[in-house]
Symmetry: C2
Subunit: 154 residues, 2 copies
DNA sequence: AGCTAATTTGCAAGTATTGCTAACTAACAA
DNA sequence: TTGTTAGTTAGCAATACTTGCAAATTAGCT
Protein backbone atom coordinates (compact mmCIF):
# COMPACT_ATOMS: atom_id res chain seq x y z
CA UNK A 1 0.00 0.00 0.00
CA UNK A 2 1.03 3.62 -0.27
CA UNK A 3 2.92 5.38 2.50
CA UNK A 4 0.94 7.16 5.18
CA UNK A 5 1.80 10.47 3.50
CA UNK A 6 0.62 9.32 0.13
CA UNK A 7 -2.51 7.87 1.64
CA UNK A 8 -3.23 11.20 3.27
CA UNK A 9 -2.99 12.78 -0.16
CA UNK A 10 -5.27 10.20 -1.69
CA UNK A 11 -7.82 10.56 1.04
CA UNK A 12 -7.87 14.33 0.71
CA UNK A 13 -8.46 14.07 -2.99
CA UNK A 14 -11.41 11.87 -2.33
CA UNK A 15 -12.87 14.23 0.25
CA UNK A 16 -12.26 11.67 2.89
CA UNK A 17 -11.26 12.99 6.27
CA UNK A 18 -7.88 12.51 7.80
CA UNK A 19 -8.94 11.48 11.26
CA UNK A 20 -6.40 10.56 13.91
CA UNK A 21 -7.79 7.04 13.89
CA UNK A 22 -7.05 6.68 10.21
CA UNK A 23 -3.64 8.19 10.53
CA UNK A 24 -2.76 5.82 13.31
CA UNK A 25 -3.86 2.83 11.29
CA UNK A 26 -2.03 4.02 8.20
CA UNK A 27 1.10 4.05 10.26
CA UNK A 28 0.52 0.69 11.84
CA UNK A 29 -0.13 -0.93 8.51
CA UNK A 30 2.72 0.64 6.62
CA UNK A 31 5.33 -1.98 5.81
CA UNK A 32 3.62 -4.31 8.23
CA UNK A 33 4.63 -7.85 7.39
CA UNK A 34 2.78 -9.52 10.23
CA UNK A 35 -0.44 -10.13 8.30
CA UNK A 36 -2.54 -8.81 11.17
CA UNK A 37 -6.17 -9.54 11.71
CA UNK A 38 -8.57 -6.74 12.57
CA UNK A 39 -8.41 -7.79 16.19
CA UNK A 40 -4.66 -7.86 16.48
CA UNK A 41 -4.39 -4.47 14.82
CA UNK A 42 -7.01 -3.20 17.20
CA UNK A 43 -4.95 -4.35 20.15
CA UNK A 44 -1.87 -2.54 18.96
CA UNK A 45 -3.84 0.55 18.03
CA UNK A 46 -5.52 0.60 21.42
CA UNK A 47 -2.19 1.05 23.13
CA UNK A 48 -1.47 4.20 21.21
CA UNK A 49 -5.02 5.42 21.19
CA UNK A 50 -7.00 4.01 24.08
CA UNK A 51 -10.66 4.05 23.28
CA UNK A 52 -10.37 3.53 19.56
CA UNK A 53 -13.16 1.28 18.45
CA UNK A 54 -12.79 -2.15 16.97
CA UNK A 55 -15.59 -1.10 14.68
CA UNK A 56 -13.45 1.69 13.32
CA UNK A 57 -10.59 -0.67 12.69
CA UNK A 58 -12.85 -2.96 10.69
CA UNK A 59 -14.26 0.03 8.88
CA UNK A 60 -10.90 1.47 7.93
CA UNK A 61 -9.43 -1.85 6.92
CA UNK A 62 -12.44 -2.44 4.75
CA UNK A 63 -12.07 0.93 3.09
CA UNK A 64 -8.40 0.46 2.41
CA UNK A 65 -9.03 -2.96 0.99
CA UNK A 66 -11.72 -1.57 -1.26
CA UNK A 67 -9.37 1.14 -2.45
CA UNK A 68 -6.87 -1.51 -3.39
CA UNK A 69 -4.41 -0.46 -0.73
CA UNK A 70 -4.62 -3.69 1.20
CA UNK A 71 -4.89 -7.28 0.22
CA UNK A 72 -7.27 -9.55 2.06
CA UNK A 73 -5.69 -12.83 2.97
CA UNK A 74 -7.65 -15.81 4.11
CA UNK A 75 -5.54 -18.59 5.49
CA UNK A 76 -8.51 -20.52 6.75
CA UNK A 77 -8.21 -19.92 10.45
CA UNK A 78 -11.31 -17.87 10.91
CA UNK A 79 -10.14 -14.29 10.84
CA UNK A 80 -9.26 -12.35 7.72
CA UNK A 81 -5.76 -10.95 7.52
CA UNK A 82 -4.75 -7.68 5.94
CA UNK A 83 -1.61 -7.41 3.91
CA UNK A 84 -0.23 -4.04 2.76
CA UNK A 85 2.06 -5.83 0.34
CA UNK A 86 0.16 -5.60 -2.92
CA UNK A 87 2.88 -7.19 -4.99
CA UNK A 88 2.21 -10.61 -6.44
CA UNK A 89 3.04 -13.07 -3.75
CA UNK A 90 1.49 -15.87 -1.74
CA UNK A 91 1.48 -17.10 1.82
CA UNK A 92 2.99 -19.69 4.03
CA UNK A 93 1.23 -20.44 7.31
CA UNK A 94 3.03 -22.23 10.08
CA UNK A 95 0.66 -24.79 11.52
CA UNK A 96 2.70 -24.81 14.68
CA UNK A 97 2.99 -21.16 15.68
CA UNK A 98 0.47 -19.67 13.28
CA UNK A 99 2.85 -17.16 11.81
CA UNK A 100 2.26 -16.10 8.23
CA UNK A 101 5.07 -15.38 5.82
CA UNK A 102 5.08 -13.91 2.36
CA UNK A 103 6.41 -16.29 -0.21
CA UNK A 104 7.15 -16.12 -3.85
CA UNK A 105 6.39 -19.05 -6.05
CA UNK A 106 8.21 -19.88 -9.22
CA UNK A 107 5.20 -19.00 -11.30
CA UNK A 108 1.58 -18.41 -10.61
CA UNK A 109 -0.17 -21.66 -11.39
CA UNK A 110 -2.33 -21.86 -14.47
CA UNK A 111 -5.56 -23.69 -14.68
CA UNK A 112 -5.65 -26.74 -16.86
CA UNK A 113 -8.22 -29.51 -17.12
CA UNK A 114 -11.96 -29.52 -16.63
CA UNK A 115 -13.23 -27.59 -19.60
CA UNK A 116 -11.03 -24.59 -18.85
CA UNK A 117 -12.65 -21.46 -20.21
CA UNK A 118 -12.64 -19.82 -16.82
CA UNK A 119 -11.97 -16.15 -16.49
CA UNK A 120 -9.48 -16.01 -13.65
CA UNK A 121 -9.20 -12.75 -11.75
CA UNK A 122 -7.30 -13.85 -8.75
CA UNK A 123 -5.19 -16.75 -7.61
CA UNK A 124 -4.56 -17.41 -3.98
CA UNK A 125 -1.98 -19.91 -2.92
CA UNK A 126 -1.60 -20.80 0.72
CA UNK A 127 1.01 -23.22 1.95
CA UNK A 128 0.61 -24.87 5.31
CA UNK A 129 3.48 -26.42 7.14
CA UNK A 130 6.17 -25.57 9.61
CA UNK A 131 8.24 -22.44 9.56
CA UNK A 132 11.97 -22.59 9.99
CA UNK A 133 11.91 -22.00 13.71
CA UNK A 134 9.12 -24.43 14.44
CA UNK A 135 10.61 -27.04 12.13
CA UNK A 136 13.87 -26.95 14.07
CA UNK A 137 12.23 -27.20 17.43
CA UNK A 138 10.20 -30.22 16.44
CA UNK A 139 12.40 -32.56 18.40
CA UNK A 140 12.67 -30.20 21.32
CA UNK A 141 9.55 -28.29 22.14
CA UNK A 142 6.30 -28.38 20.22
CA UNK A 143 6.84 -24.94 18.70
CA UNK A 144 8.52 -21.83 19.91
CA UNK A 145 5.32 -20.01 20.61
CA UNK A 146 3.02 -21.29 23.25
CA UNK A 147 -0.14 -20.34 21.43
CA UNK A 148 -0.95 -19.89 17.82
CA UNK A 149 -1.09 -16.23 17.02
CA UNK A 150 -4.70 -16.59 16.24
CA UNK A 151 -5.69 -17.72 19.63
CA UNK A 152 -3.97 -14.72 21.11
CA UNK A 153 -7.05 -12.61 20.68
CA UNK A 154 -9.38 -14.58 22.85
CA UNK B 1 -13.52 -40.69 -0.19
CA UNK B 2 -14.43 -44.35 -0.08
CA UNK B 3 -17.75 -45.62 -1.31
CA UNK B 4 -20.63 -45.86 1.14
CA UNK B 5 -20.10 -49.62 1.27
CA UNK B 6 -16.42 -49.30 2.01
CA UNK B 7 -17.09 -46.65 4.58
CA UNK B 8 -19.55 -48.95 6.30
CA UNK B 9 -16.78 -51.52 6.49
CA UNK B 10 -14.33 -49.00 7.88
CA UNK B 11 -16.76 -47.78 10.46
CA UNK B 12 -17.57 -51.27 11.63
CA UNK B 13 -13.91 -52.05 12.07
CA UNK B 14 -13.57 -49.01 14.24
CA UNK B 15 -16.55 -49.94 16.38
CA UNK B 16 -18.40 -46.97 15.05
CA UNK B 17 -22.09 -47.39 14.55
CA UNK B 18 -23.75 -47.42 11.20
CA UNK B 19 -26.63 -45.12 11.95
CA UNK B 20 -29.15 -44.18 9.30
CA UNK B 21 -27.94 -40.61 9.53
CA UNK B 22 -24.42 -41.61 8.69
CA UNK B 23 -25.52 -43.86 5.89
CA UNK B 24 -27.57 -41.10 4.38
CA UNK B 25 -24.67 -38.70 4.52
CA UNK B 26 -22.27 -41.25 3.07
CA UNK B 27 -24.57 -41.52 0.14
CA UNK B 28 -25.02 -37.82 -0.32
CA UNK B 29 -21.32 -37.19 -0.22
CA UNK B 30 -20.28 -40.01 -2.50
CA UNK B 31 -19.03 -38.61 -5.77
CA UNK B 32 -20.46 -35.27 -4.82
CA UNK B 33 -18.76 -32.62 -6.87
CA UNK B 34 -20.76 -29.70 -5.56
CA UNK B 35 -18.42 -28.81 -2.72
CA UNK B 36 -21.29 -28.55 -0.28
CA UNK B 37 -21.21 -26.70 2.99
CA UNK B 38 -22.61 -28.30 6.11
CA UNK B 39 -25.76 -26.25 5.71
CA UNK B 40 -26.40 -27.17 2.12
CA UNK B 41 -25.84 -30.84 2.87
CA UNK B 42 -28.21 -30.52 5.76
CA UNK B 43 -30.90 -29.14 3.49
CA UNK B 44 -30.60 -32.01 1.10
CA UNK B 45 -30.43 -34.56 3.88
CA UNK B 46 -33.49 -33.09 5.53
CA UNK B 47 -35.59 -33.90 2.51
CA UNK B 48 -34.76 -37.57 2.76
CA UNK B 49 -34.70 -37.66 6.51
CA UNK B 50 -36.85 -34.94 8.00
CA UNK B 51 -35.71 -34.19 11.50
CA UNK B 52 -32.05 -34.95 11.03
CA UNK B 53 -30.05 -32.45 13.00
CA UNK B 54 -27.68 -29.91 11.58
CA UNK B 55 -25.51 -30.77 14.52
CA UNK B 56 -25.25 -34.32 13.30
CA UNK B 57 -24.25 -33.19 9.88
CA UNK B 58 -21.46 -31.09 11.32
CA UNK B 59 -20.46 -33.97 13.54
CA UNK B 60 -20.33 -36.52 10.77
CA UNK B 61 -18.54 -34.25 8.36
CA UNK B 62 -15.99 -33.52 11.00
CA UNK B 63 -15.44 -37.19 11.66
CA UNK B 64 -15.04 -38.03 8.00
CA UNK B 65 -12.61 -35.18 7.54
CA UNK B 66 -10.61 -36.37 10.48
CA UNK B 67 -10.52 -39.86 9.05
CA UNK B 68 -9.12 -38.45 5.86
CA UNK B 69 -12.22 -39.27 3.88
CA UNK B 70 -13.10 -35.69 3.11
CA UNK B 71 -11.08 -32.65 2.26
CA UNK B 72 -11.91 -29.35 3.87
CA UNK B 73 -11.99 -26.54 1.40
CA UNK B 74 -12.02 -22.91 2.40
CA UNK B 75 -12.74 -20.56 -0.43
CA UNK B 76 -13.06 -17.59 1.84
CA UNK B 77 -16.78 -17.09 1.77
CA UNK B 78 -17.55 -17.95 5.34
CA UNK B 79 -18.63 -21.55 5.32
CA UNK B 80 -16.29 -24.49 5.02
CA UNK B 81 -16.85 -26.81 2.12
CA UNK B 82 -16.42 -30.56 2.09
CA UNK B 83 -14.91 -32.32 -0.84
CA UNK B 84 -14.93 -36.12 -1.15
CA UNK B 85 -12.37 -35.88 -3.91
CA UNK B 86 -9.14 -36.57 -2.10
CA UNK B 87 -7.01 -36.53 -5.21
CA UNK B 88 -4.59 -33.69 -5.67
CA UNK B 89 -6.52 -30.84 -7.15
CA UNK B 90 -7.44 -27.24 -6.48
CA UNK B 91 -10.47 -25.02 -6.79
CA UNK B 92 -12.02 -22.41 -8.94
CA UNK B 93 -14.71 -20.21 -7.42
CA UNK B 94 -17.04 -18.21 -9.60
CA UNK B 95 -17.38 -14.80 -8.06
CA UNK B 96 -20.62 -14.35 -9.91
CA UNK B 97 -22.65 -17.45 -9.05
CA UNK B 98 -20.49 -18.84 -6.27
CA UNK B 99 -20.11 -22.24 -7.83
CA UNK B 100 -16.96 -24.16 -7.06
CA UNK B 101 -15.18 -26.35 -9.56
CA UNK B 102 -12.32 -28.75 -9.22
CA UNK B 103 -9.35 -27.78 -11.28
CA UNK B 104 -6.03 -29.29 -12.02
CA UNK B 105 -3.00 -27.10 -12.29
CA UNK B 106 0.03 -27.86 -14.36
CA UNK B 107 2.10 -28.48 -11.29
CA UNK B 108 1.75 -27.73 -7.66
CA UNK B 109 3.64 -24.52 -7.04
CA UNK B 110 6.88 -24.66 -5.16
CA UNK B 111 8.02 -22.15 -2.66
CA UNK B 112 10.98 -20.03 -3.55
CA UNK B 113 12.29 -16.84 -1.97
CA UNK B 114 12.35 -15.63 1.59
CA UNK B 115 14.81 -17.94 3.23
CA UNK B 116 12.92 -21.02 2.12
CA UNK B 117 13.51 -23.85 4.57
CA UNK B 118 9.81 -24.28 5.18
CA UNK B 119 8.39 -27.71 5.71
CA UNK B 120 5.34 -27.69 3.47
CA UNK B 121 2.58 -30.15 4.28
CA UNK B 122 -0.24 -28.76 2.24
CA UNK B 123 -0.76 -26.38 -0.62
CA UNK B 124 -4.09 -24.82 -1.29
CA UNK B 125 -4.73 -22.97 -4.49
CA UNK B 126 -7.98 -21.14 -5.02
CA UNK B 127 -8.78 -19.31 -8.22
CA UNK B 128 -11.45 -16.66 -8.24
CA UNK B 129 -13.10 -15.49 -11.40
CA UNK B 130 -16.04 -16.23 -13.62
CA UNK B 131 -17.13 -19.67 -14.61
CA UNK B 132 -17.96 -20.45 -18.19
CA UNK B 133 -21.65 -19.81 -17.84
CA UNK B 134 -21.30 -16.57 -15.91
CA UNK B 135 -18.58 -15.35 -18.21
CA UNK B 136 -20.89 -15.75 -21.19
CA UNK B 137 -23.80 -14.00 -19.58
CA UNK B 138 -21.72 -10.99 -18.61
CA UNK B 139 -23.24 -8.86 -21.31
CA UNK B 140 -26.71 -10.17 -20.71
CA UNK B 141 -27.62 -10.78 -17.12
CA UNK B 142 -25.38 -10.44 -14.11
CA UNK B 143 -24.98 -14.17 -13.73
CA UNK B 144 -27.22 -17.10 -14.36
CA UNK B 145 -28.03 -17.62 -10.73
CA UNK B 146 -29.87 -14.97 -8.85
CA UNK B 147 -28.02 -15.50 -5.63
CA UNK B 148 -24.65 -16.83 -4.81
CA UNK B 149 -24.96 -20.40 -3.67
CA UNK B 150 -23.65 -19.34 -0.35
CA UNK B 151 -26.43 -16.94 0.31
CA UNK B 152 -28.93 -19.66 -0.38
CA UNK B 153 -28.88 -20.80 3.18
CA UNK B 154 -30.00 -17.65 4.88
C1' DA C 1 -34.98 -58.89 25.44
C1' DG C 2 -31.35 -56.37 27.82
C1' DC C 3 -27.12 -53.80 28.22
C1' DT C 4 -24.09 -50.14 27.21
C1' DA C 5 -21.13 -47.32 24.77
C1' DA C 6 -21.74 -44.67 20.83
C1' DT C 7 -24.65 -41.28 18.67
C1' DT C 8 -28.04 -37.87 17.90
C1' DT C 9 -30.26 -33.64 19.22
C1' DG C 10 -31.45 -29.16 20.82
C1' DC C 11 -29.77 -25.36 22.72
C1' DA C 12 -26.49 -22.29 24.60
C1' DA C 13 -22.29 -20.17 23.74
C1' DG C 14 -18.24 -18.51 21.01
C1' DT C 15 -15.95 -16.14 17.29
C1' DA C 16 -15.72 -12.96 13.48
C1' DT C 17 -17.93 -9.40 11.16
C1' DT C 18 -21.46 -6.15 9.67
C1' DG C 19 -25.77 -3.03 10.07
C1' DC C 20 -27.65 0.76 12.21
C1' DT C 21 -27.68 5.14 14.34
C1' DA C 22 -26.67 8.78 17.47
C1' DA C 23 -22.90 11.62 18.74
C1' DC C 24 -18.79 13.67 17.09
C1' DT C 25 -15.45 16.25 14.23
C1' DA C 26 -12.36 17.42 10.16
C1' DA C 27 -12.43 20.52 6.55
C1' DC C 28 -14.05 24.37 4.39
C1' DA C 29 -16.44 28.94 4.31
C1' DA C 30 -17.68 33.27 6.14
C1' DT D 1 -12.59 32.41 15.24
C1' DT D 2 -16.94 30.58 14.57
C1' DG D 3 -20.41 28.12 11.92
C1' DT D 4 -21.85 24.48 8.95
C1' DT D 5 -22.14 19.99 7.40
C1' DA D 6 -20.85 15.84 5.23
C1' DG D 7 -18.00 12.33 6.58
C1' DT D 8 -16.67 9.45 10.77
C1' DT D 9 -16.56 7.10 14.94
C1' DA D 10 -18.26 4.14 18.43
C1' DG D 11 -21.38 1.14 20.68
C1' DC D 12 -24.48 -2.22 20.46
C1' DA D 13 -27.50 -5.36 18.29
C1' DA D 14 -27.68 -8.80 14.97
C1' DT D 15 -26.02 -12.27 11.71
C1' DA D 16 -23.43 -16.32 10.16
C1' DC D 17 -20.96 -20.38 11.06
C1' DT D 18 -19.49 -23.70 14.26
C1' DT D 19 -18.72 -26.07 18.60
C1' DG D 20 -19.57 -27.48 23.66
C1' DC D 21 -22.59 -29.68 26.62
C1' DA D 22 -25.95 -32.81 28.59
C1' DA D 23 -29.95 -35.47 28.10
C1' DA D 24 -32.39 -38.73 25.35
C1' DT D 25 -31.90 -42.31 21.98
C1' DT D 26 -30.21 -46.37 19.65
C1' DA D 27 -26.96 -49.73 17.09
C1' DG D 28 -24.76 -53.78 17.92
C1' DC D 29 -23.60 -57.36 20.93
C1' DT D 30 -24.84 -60.99 24.47
Amino acid sequence: MHSPTQLAQIFREKQLKLTPQRQLLFGLLHENKAHPSAESLFEVASKQMPGISLRTVYQTLGELAEMGELQLVDVGDGAKRFDPNMGEHHHFVCESCGSIHDVEISSTPKIRGEGAGYEVNDVGVVFHGKCTRCGESTKRSPGHQAKKQVAKTK
